[in-house]
């Protein structure tokens, strides 16, 4: 990220080098050219800086107020990788000689100054690079504070001892050690506070001025600079020395304007302009600083510029930091919006403290809200299906008081009359007092998923029902017997009654018994029909708390005739006080009937005396286990559980659906189905989880 932002920084160069490992020669060449052009700029900057420094000297004692070369070198070092610093230092040496040679300074003194100037810049740059990430672009308050501490104060402070020692040892000039130290420190510190930030600020974000600023902004910047220069010129060159000192503060609004509207670049440029004009005026004996001695004027100008610069620089740095944060937030928001848009998510927030709410476009489209409609919990709840409303309200209330988060699935009644299925997740944010102050949430339309699930469930239910119809077909013999017994009795009783009447021998007592039997048999036949219809009926699965022992008793009653017809003995071993399970009673009947029919069929080839089925229930850990054991031909030896797959049948005319449906039903109830071979037969078992409430019956 940073590489692209700081296109001119060395990070970009080295990354390019890494990416093109196979053409390193070309890259090396490019780096060299960059470094060389940098070195040339340092050379030129150092030379021009020195000339400016000379120009801003206060006569007649040649007291330097601002000494820019060292600040130029410091900025160059801060923008260059440390391993290439030596190139920058070498570039300074000829500039130093070029500057001093015109003043007839002995070369030993020139070299000494070169050493002390380099020492100042190296010291400052080393400390800054140690404390913060280089290259330094002054992206925040921290960078600026470190620059002020190390570059503006520490470097000039310590190097001035060395510099003054060189001056005294070389017998150069007439100043004392401390006089020389004071002048050098203040002039270098002032340069570091005005020149270094100026270079760093302009080097920082690349030369994309046109892209960043509109034409209006450029006009504004140009106008501001013009006004500032005019005002500065008038103030520091035309104003009488005894004018009101308050007039010195007239540039302040313009400087603030520059700092706030144009950030660090605006602030540093404006400061540099004002500093230059103030010193220029003082050096030429004009303006408010011209009345005193050269030393006094120098100190006044330096203090004025320093105290004007520092707060402005920090203000600009703060503005830049804020801008960075704002940009990051904006980027983050854009990323979230993009993700939400891609995933068709509705996003919303409700700020209770400020009474504001927000929802993205997708969310408003989903809920059918108009773009500026204010949101509240009540508005949300009014869109929710009345049957779901209470549940959702409870979940939100629980989140507000306890867990802070909620996740709910519900039906949404849209204004167009359509119903959509939604999942919403929400989170409460708390203020400093720990009170819920804001509610954030997302909503996802899961209608397609829910519809598909419902369809799948209805298909599974239909399959199960067809399975029941099929198993009924296999039980026709016993069903016919169950029905024919009462029908035969009714027919015989009716015939007998008719004959009694025809013979004229009417015994009322016999008739009364006869009719009672007819009535009872009719009911019996009705019950059989009802049982069959109930078993094969179409209808949604209804889970309730049931005892599997009751289901077994009911099924054995239903299959009674079949056991007779097939000469099969049934033995039951039912656990007393069996815990309840949550299941659909009809589907449980179906499971048992299928397992029993499977056992009956497995014993068709066995002699009737040995035909026996053992049905047992017992509690196993957290589930109820039902076993159906037969003494038939057994299961396929390699993989007994193969019988549960669709279309697997050992019978030539079998469809192989019965046990597959059993597996589906047991699976849908959260249970397990197993099959095993035993000596002389097999056992099929299924287990269902015990219903929670029945694990620990409530008692006092």
């Amino acid at each position: 990220m940073e590489d692209t932002v700081t296109g001119d920084g060395w990070a970009g160069a080295s990354v390019r080098g890494l990416r093109r490992g196979d053409s390193s020669e070309i890259v090396q060449h490019r780096i060299d050219r960059r470094v060389l052009s940098g070195a040339f700029l340092v050379f030129a900057g150092y030379y021009v800086g020195a000339q400016v420094g000379f120009a801003l000297t206060l006569k007649p004692h040649a007291v330097s107020v601002l000494w820019p070369p060292n600040s130029v070198l410091l900025a160059a070092l801060l923008l260059t990788p440390p391993r290439q610093w030596w190139i920058m230092l070498l570039a300074v040496l000829p500039a130093q000689y070029l500057v001093e040679i015109q003043s007839d300074v002995p070369s030993r003194m020139v070299f000494c100054w070169f050493v002390s100037n380099c020492f100042e810049a190296l010291l400052g740059a080393s400390c800054i690079c140690y404390l913060t990430k280089c290259p330094v672009y002054l992206n925040g308050l921290r960078d600026l504070a470190i620059l002020c501490l190390c570059g503006v104060f520490l470097g000039p402070f310590l190097s001035s001892f060395l510099d003054s020692a060189f001056v005294v040892l070389n017998h150069w000039g007439s100043d004392t050690y401390w006089g020389s130290w004071r002048i050098r420190f203040s002039s270098n510190a002032l340069a570091a506070i005005t020149i270094t930030p100026l270079i760093l600020a302009w080097a920082g974000e690349g030369m994309t001025l046109r892209q960043r600023f509109s034409r209006m902004r450029l006009v504004e910047a140009g106008g501001l600079l013009l006004i500032l220069l005019t005002l500065g010129y008038v103030l520091f060159n035309k104003l009488a020395p005894d004018s009101d000192p308050a007039l010195l503060y007239t540039p302040l609004p313009l400087l603030l304007w520059a700092a706030i509207r144009f950030g660090l670049r605006g602030a540093t440029t404006a400061i540099a302009a004002i500093a230059f004009l103030a010193i220029w005026g003082a050096a030429h004996g004009h303006g408010p600083f011209s009345e005193n001695t050269a030393e006094e004027s120098a100190i006044y100008v330096q203090l004025f510029v320093s105290f004007m610069s520092l707060p402005l620089l920090f203000l600009a740095a703060l503005t830049r930091e804020r801008e960075g944060i704002r940009k990051t937030l904006q980027e983050r928001e854009e990323r979230v919006s993009l993700a939400a848009e891609t995933a068709h998510l509705g996003l919303w927030t409700i700020d209770f403290e400020r009474g504001k709410s927000w929802m993205n476009e997708k969310g408003r489209e989903l809920f059918g809200f108009s773009p500026n409609e204010p949101l509240s919990r009540e508005v949300f709840l009014s869109c929710i299906h009345p049957e779901d409303r209470r549940r959702i309200n409870d979940a939100i209330e629980r989140a507000r008081t306890e867990s802070q988060t909620f996740e709910v699935e519900y039906r949404l009644c849209r204004p167009d009359g359509k119903t959509r299925w939604l999942i919403s997740r929400g989170r409460y944010l708390c203020n400093s007092r720990g009170e819920a102050s804001e509610l954030l949430g997302v909503a996802l339309d899961v209608t397609a998923q829910v519809t598909a699930n419902l369809e799948l469930r209805s298909q599974q239910e239909e399959l199960a029902r067809l399975g029941r119809v099929a198993v009924m077909g296999e039980l026709t013999a016993s069903l016919a017997h169950e029905l024919n017994q009462p029908l035969a009795a009714i027919a015989a009783n009716a015939a007998a009654g008719k004959r009694f009447l025809a013979g004229g021998t009417v015994d009322l007592a016999i008739f009364s018994e006869l009719l009672a039997d007819v009535f009872a048999d009719a009911r019996r036949a009705g019950n059989v029909i009802h049982g069959i219809r109930h078993f094969v009926r179409k209808g949604e699965e209804v889970k309730c708390s049931i005892s599997l022992n009751d289901v077994i008793t009911e099924v054995l009653r239903l299959l009674h005739s079949d056991f007779l017809g097939r000469s099969t003995t049934i033995e039951t071993l039912l656990a007393p006080q069996l815990p309840l399970v949550r299941a659909d009673p009809i589907q449980m009947q179906q499971v048992l009937i299928n397992l029993i029919v499977n056992s009956l069929e497995a014993m068709e080839e066995i002699s009737p005396a040995k035909r026996r089925i053992e049905i047992s229930t017992h509690i196993s850990e957290q589930s109820v286990r039902v076993g159906v054991r037969d003494f038939g031909v057994g299961l396929p030896s390699e993989s007994p559980e193969k019988i549960f797959t669709h279309f697997y049948s050992s019978k030539p005319d079998g469809m192989g659906m019965g046990l597959a449906i059993v597996r589906t039903i047991v699976g849908a109830h959260g249970g397990k189905l197993t099959a095993e071979n035993l000596p002389d037969g097999a056992r099929l078992c299924f287990s269902l989880p015990i219903e929670n409430s029945s694990k620990q019956p409530f008692s006092l």
Binding site: A477, A480, H481, E482, L483, N484, Q485, P486, L487, A488, A489, I490, A491, A492, N493, A495, A496, G497, R499, F500, G503, I510, E513, L514, D517, A520, D521, R524, S561, L564, G565, S567
Partner: protein, 128 residues
């Protein structure tokens, strides 16, 4: 039952369904015939051993023992007794076996009362 007179027109009925037993008893009584009903094959066979009757009506589907097995044992005890088979389920195989074992008639429940009475009357008259 034990107090009733055993006549040449007495018919034994074996069915494990009480209501069916009673209804057949009434149907036979409406024709002036004496019916003695049994729910258990053992007591039927014991009675046959003591007092053979011309006609026995058997249900095929019963617990522990099938009507066909009862028929075999009965015919060994009383070869002249004629057996009428009743069943709640029509099964060609069972019908064939019953006829081979010497059953005189085979009725699927519910049956036609006139045909039933006609068969009973015919068998009674031929046994005389």
């Amino acid at each position: 039952m034990s107090g009733k007179r055993i006549t040449s027109e007495t018919v034994y009925v074996l069915d494990d369904d009480a209501s069916v037993r009673r209804s057949i008893g009434r149907l036979l009584a409406s024709e002036g015939l004496e019916a003695r009903t049994f729910s258990d094959p053992k007591s039927l066979l014991a009675s046959i051993a003591v007092q053979p009757v011309p006609i026995v009506i058997l249900d095929i589907w019963m617990e522990k023992i099938t009507g066909l097995e009862v028929q075999s044992k009965l015919l060994r005890l009383s070869p002249r007794t004629r057996v009428i088979i009743m069943t709640g389920r029509s099964d060609v195989g069972v019908q064939k076996t019953a006829m081979e074992l010497g059953a005189a008639a085979y009725f699927t429940k519910p049956f036609d009362d006139q045909e039933f009475i006609r068969v009973v009357r015919t068998l009674l008259s031929t046994s005389e």
